[in-house]
Symmetry: C2
Subunit: 350 residues, 2 copies
C-alpha cells in the first residue's frame, strides 16, 4: 500500500551510508542550481526515502528534480512566505518552488497552533510537489500530534463510472504517535496504483492487470501505454472516487489552490512535476482527550495490537524494518542508478 517500491537486490548493487546518500543528494541539487535551503530540505526527504527502501522516492527522484528544474517552471531559490490568516491556520506560499522547504517552515507554526487550539491547518500553496507525504505526517507525529496530509496532482484518474480523467493520484497520509515505537502511519494514493507502477510496466513492455486503467475510448485495457494515454482508475470503486473528490476540494479550492485539472492544464504537456497546494491538519490528543491521555493511549494501543497481534500488517512496517536495517548497514543502490545520479552532479569526489 505504501507509495514506495522496494528495489531488487542484485549483484550490481553498491552500498552507501545514509550520510553518503545525503551528501550525494546535496551535491547534485546544489550543482544544478538549487539554493542551500532548498537543497537541504529536498536532500533530507530523498535520503529518508532511500533509507526506508522506497526506491521511487529515493535517489531516483534526483533525476526527476533536475529534469523538472530544466523545464524552467520550478523556482530553485524562492523563499517560502509564511502568513497567519487565523490563530489556527498557517499558510505558506511556496512561490513556485518545491514544497519541502515550505513544509519545513510551516511545521513549527502548525504544531504550535495545534497545541494551543487542539486542531490547526498548514496550507501550502503554489508548490511543485514530488514527494511522498509520510515524512511529513511522521514529523507531525514526532511532535506528539496526529497528522493528516493530502494533495491533488495532475488529472490522470477517472471517477468511478466515468471514462475521462479528472482526479490526480491524490494521496492521503495519516500518522498517529505511539509511545516508544514508530508512529502508526499510512500514505496511499487514491488511484488504484501509483502512476509509476503503470509507467514501469510500459517501459518493460509488460501488460497491466485489468482494473488499473482504461484507454482513451473509456474501455478497460491491459496495455500500459494505452492506460497512460487514457485514464487510471480509483481504488475501492465509488468510495475511493469519493475520497479522491474530497482531496481535490480540500487541498485545492478550499485553500485557494488548483485542482488536478488546473495543474494539468498549466503543465500543457511539459511533463513536469505537478504545481498545486497541500493541506495538512494536526490534532492534539492532549487537548482533545478529555484529560484521559493515558487511558486513551492505552485504548489506541490495544486496537493497534489487535491488528498486528492477529498477523495483519500495519501499513508502514516494511519501511520501518528497512529503516532499522539501513541505519545498521547503509543502503543498497543499483550501480546504474548511482552512475546516472553522479553524472547529474558532474562530480567525482564521492
Amino acid at each position: 500500500m505504501q507509495r514506495c517500491t522496494g528495489g531488487p537486490v542484485n549483484t550490481d548493487m553498491i552500498n552507501l551510508s545514509i550520510d553518503q546518500v545525503y551528501d550525494l543528494s546535496v551535491d547534485v541539487l546544489s550543482r544544478n542550481g538549487f539554493s542551500a535551503p532548498h537543497t537541504a530540505a529536498i536532500a533530507q526527504t530523498i535520503t529518508a526515502g532511500q533509507r526506508d527502501d522506497c526506491q521511487s522516492h529515493g535517489l531516483y527522484r534526483l533525476i526527476v528534480c533536475v529534469r523538472t528544474l530544466q523545464t524552467g517552471l520550478v523556482d530553485p531559490a524562492a523563499l517560502p512566505v509564511v502568513t497567519h490568516p487565523t490563530p489556527a491556520v498557517v499558510q505558506v506560499d511556496a512561490q513556485r518552488a518545491y514544497s519541502l522547504l515550505a513544509f519545513q517552515e510551516g511545521l513549527p507554526h502548525l504544531a504550535e497552533k495545534a497545541k494551543k487550539n487542539g486542531i490547526a491547518v498548514l496550507a501550502i500553496n503554489n508548490c511543485f510537489h514530488f514527494s511522498a507525504l509520510w515524512p511529513e505526517v511522521e514529523a507531525i507525529a514526532a511532535l506528539g500530534l496526529a497528522g493528516i496530509a493530502m494533495t491533488p496532482s495532475h488529472s490522470w484518474v477517472a471517477p468511478a463510472g466515468g471514462t475521462r480523467p479528472v482526479f490526480g493520484t491524490n494521496p492521503l497520509a495519516f500518522a498517529w504517535p505511539r509511545p516508544g515505537a514508530f508512529p502508526y502511519v499510512f500514505d496511499f494514493a487514491t488511484s488504484m496504483v501509483a502512476r509509476g507502477e503503470i509507467e514501469l510496466h510500459r517501459r518493460t513492455g509488460k501488460p497491466i492487470p485489468e482494473g488499473w486503467a482504461i484507454d482513451k475510448y473509456g474501455q478497460p485495457t491491459t496495455d500500459a501505454a494505452a492506460g497512460m494515454d487514457g485514464a487510471m482508475t480509483t481504488f475501492g470503486s465509488y468510495k475511493g472516487s469519493a475520497l479522491s473528490t474530497m482531496i481535490e476540494l480540500l487541498a485545492g479550492p478550499l485553500i485557494g489552490d488548483w485542482t488536478s485539472m488546473q495543474s494539468q492544464a498549466y503543465d500543457a504537456g511539459a511533463g513536469a512535476t505537478p504545481l498545486h497546494g497541500e493541506l495538512l491538519i494536526a490534532l492534539d490528543p492532549q487537548l482533545l482527550g478529555r484529560g484521559m491521555l493515558t487511558a486513551n493511549t492505552a485504548a489506541a494501543e490495544a486496537m493497534l495490537d489487535a491488528i498486528s497481534g492477529q498477523g495483519a500488517r500495519l501499513p508502514s512496517e516494511r519501511r520501518f524494518k528497512a529503516r532499522a536495517k539501513s541505519e545498521q548497514e547503509g543502503v543498497w543502490v543499483s550501480r546504474a542508478l548511482y552512475d546516472e545520479v553522479r553524472k547529474l552532479g558532474k562530480s567525482d569526489n564521492l
Copy 2:
C-alpha cells in the same frame, strides 16, 4: 455507495406526507419515553432519511430506537453538556443519550468557531449512535462550510490480511457547499458493505457475494450467518483498512472516547446500538481561500461538473432526486412497516 437502501415500491405501499412521517415519529418516540428535545432531534433525522428514500434510516429506525431503549442502556432524556476546551474545539457530552440532540447543540458552536478560526472540531462523546452522517455534514455545508464526520461502531470488521474483527463499520462522511445546488456529499461505510446488507441476506436465506465477510475460522464465506458470526471485510483492501484504523483513532482515543472494540465489550451481547464518540471537523472556504472565494468556487464547480458531465454519478444524486420527489408527492412506506411502527406508538390518531 450511500449508506441507505431504497425500498421496492409494490402494491402494498401507503403514501404519507413528510409532515405525517415526522408526526408519526414524534408520536412513537414520545410515547416510548423520549424527552421532548430528544424526540424532536431524532424525529427530524428519521424524517430526513425517509424523505430521501433511505429506508434503512427512515421509519424503520424507530423500531431499533425503541428496542435499544428497552435494553435500559440509553438515557431517553439526558441533556447534552457543552464545553469549550479551546477556541477551536467544542466538546459535547451526550451523557449516554442518543447523539442527535448533542449534534444539534454543538453545531452552532462548531460553525461559529470554524468561521473565526478557519477550522474547528465538534467532538461528541458518550453517545449512542444509530444515524447516518450525511444529515450532519449537509447541515454543516448549509452554513457555507466544508464538513467531515466519522464514527466507530461495534467491532464487526477484520483488518485487511487479518481474520478477526477489530474495526466498526466506521463511516466517513463529507460535504462541500455548492452555490445554488445541493452540496457535494458522500457518506460511506469503510466496511465492504453495510452490516444491514448482510443481515438482510441472512434473513432471506440468500448467500452473500464472496469478499463481504469471513467466518469465525477466518475463511472466506458466502453464508450470511457465518459471516455475521465471523467478521466483515473492509472496502478497498489495505487502503480501506488503513482508513478504518484512522477513524478508530480520531473518533475514539483522540477525543477521549471508545474504540469499536470497547463499545462491543460494553454491549456484552445485548445487541444494542453502539456507544462511542463522533468527530466532526468544519473548514471555512472563506478564511482558508486566500481571498479568492469566487475563483475557488468556480474551480470546484468545474471539477464536479467534469465528473457529472461525463455521466459519472455524484455520490448523493439518488437521495437528492428522492428528496425532490418526496417534497412533491410524499413518501411511500410498506403497510407492514407502517403498521409495525404505529403499534409502537399505541396510537390510532394518525
